[in-house]
């Protein structure tokens, strides 16, 4: 991959060293260049970390190891001292793996209570848009990704709680069809909800039912 000539501007942009015109030219560029936008996001994270550590960065002391790393070191130590442990441990590990992935272990569906807005157990889907009152019928609905290989079922209800529209998708965003938009009126309240269904048909997550109103234009 060849370098993009705009990459030079990333640091200047993040450290506010570019003049307005340069900054705008760079912004327009990263709307068009995903490579630069990726680098920009990553550089921002790096600069944030450097700003947080400050002068500690140039002192020799290292920050505390992460818990996982300490744990891994300990495990290595245990085996270094007791080599006879290795074979039985690997065997036990393989049995556990087998039990987890064996066809006999059934996937328990999480339980939900779906009357009204109560969700008792299982995962919750975060809804992104619309979640506040809007000026016009929404053009699209969007929610947070919940996992791999899921199908989402979205339902839109009117103020009398009657289903206005329902659809399924594997994406996390869906465009509302024009004919449904035309049915939605200013001053009315609507609500929507998303359910995630795994490839083997199990309901794995639901969102809360979010209400929004289409504001009266006048």
């Amino acid at each position: 991959m060849s370098k993009c000539r705009f990459e030079e501007l990333i640091d200047g942009y993040l450290l506010n060293k570019l003049d307005t015109e340069e900054a705008e030219r760079f912004e327009e560029h990263f709307f068009n260049c995903s490579r630069c936008f990726n680098q920009l996001q990553q550089r921002e994270e790096v600069i944030k970390a450097i700003k947080e550590h400050g002068p500690a960065l140039i002192r020799e002391v290292k920050p505390a190891q992460s818990r996982l790393q300490r744990w891994a070191d300990e495990v290595v130590m245990i085996f270094a001292n007791r080599q006879w442990l290795v074979a039985p441990t690997i065997a036990a590990f393989l049995i556990v793996i087998f039990l987890i992935f064996s066809p006999f272990s059934k996937e328990e569906p999480p339980s939900f209570v779906l009357n009204g807005e109560n969700v008792l157990r299982g995962q919750a889907i975060n809804l992104i848009s619309p979640i506040i009152d809007v000026n016009q019928p929404p053009l699209y609905f969007e929610w947070k990704k919940q996992g791999e290989d899921l199908e989402y079922k979205i339902s839109l209800y009117d103020s009398r709680n009657e289903l206005l529209w329902s659809s399924t998708t594997k994406e996390t965003v869906i465009i509302l069809p024009e004919d449904i938009r035309k049915k939605m009126k200013p001053g009315e309240k609507y609500s929507w909800q998303v359910k995630a269904i795994s490839s083997n048909g199990i309901l794995v997550a639901v969102s809360s039912r979010v209400q929004f109103m289409i504001k009266d234009e006048n």
Binding site: D11, L15, K17, E24, E27, E28, F30, F31, N32, C33, S34, F37, N38, L40, Q41, Q42, R43, E44, E45, V46, I47, K48, A49, I50, K51, E52, H53, G54, P55, L57, I58, E60, K62, P63, S66, N126, I128, S129, P130, I132, P138, L139, Y140, E142, K144, E171, T172, V173, I174, I175
Partner: protein, 184 residues
């Protein structure tokens, strides 16, 4: 000539541009600006509405078209903000879900670990350049190096950081494949 977009394409555009629009708005207004998430929604809604009405006539790239809408909205906000500057702006928690926050923390942890694993000669430059915000020339003068050496070391440190992030989060760039598909 106005270009027609399929429903599927519009959905990809929302997913593709949400982070870019969000980044730009946050940068312009500051992360403390309470309504920045709403403004992102606003811009996306405008974008989709204009595309559906056929207002994108391919006089520029789609990215530039979306940037223009974003920029106009930011300017409006800054104007309003100046008017309402006497009101105090409270800090609000980001709308990012717990999963997103978790991922961010994990990434920050990997970055910190990698930073401290770098040799002191790299850490020193990162400190002066990003923390003290000295120019490359000033860093070079301070450390008795050539500007080119400073640039090379900065570049090397970025490469190491990028590599360790890629190792732990290989899926990060996957959604950009969508844009490439759309572009052709």
């Amino acid at each position: 000539m106005s270009r027609q977009f399929s429903t599927n394409e519009l959905e990809q555009i929302i997913r593709q541009y949400r982070p870019i629009i969000g980044f730009t708005i946050k940068k312009a207004l500051g992360p403390q600006y309470p309504e920045w998430e709403d403004i992102v929604q606003d811009v996306l809604t405008q974008v989709i509405s204009k595309l559906q009405k056929g207002e994108f006539r391919e006089e520029c790239s789609l990215g530039t078209f979306i940037y223009t809408i974003t920029k106009r909205r930011i300017i409006d906000c800054i104007r309003q903000k100046a008017k309402a500057s006497s009101e105090k702006i409270e800090e609000i928690a980001s709308l990012g879900g717990p999963e997103e926050d978790f991922l961010k923390k994990e990434r920050a942890e990997i970055i910190s670990q990698t930073l401290f694993k770098l040799k002191p000669k790299f850490r020193e430059i990162l400190y002066l350049y990003y923390y003290k915000e000295l120019s490359r020339e000033e860093v070079a003068a301070r450390l008795g190096l050539s500007v080119r050496q400073v640039s090379e070391r900065l570049y090397y440190a970025q490469k190491i950081l990028a590599r360790s992030l890629r190792k732990f989060f290989p899926e990060k760039n996957s959604n950009f494949a969508l844009l490439r598909r759309l572009k052709k």
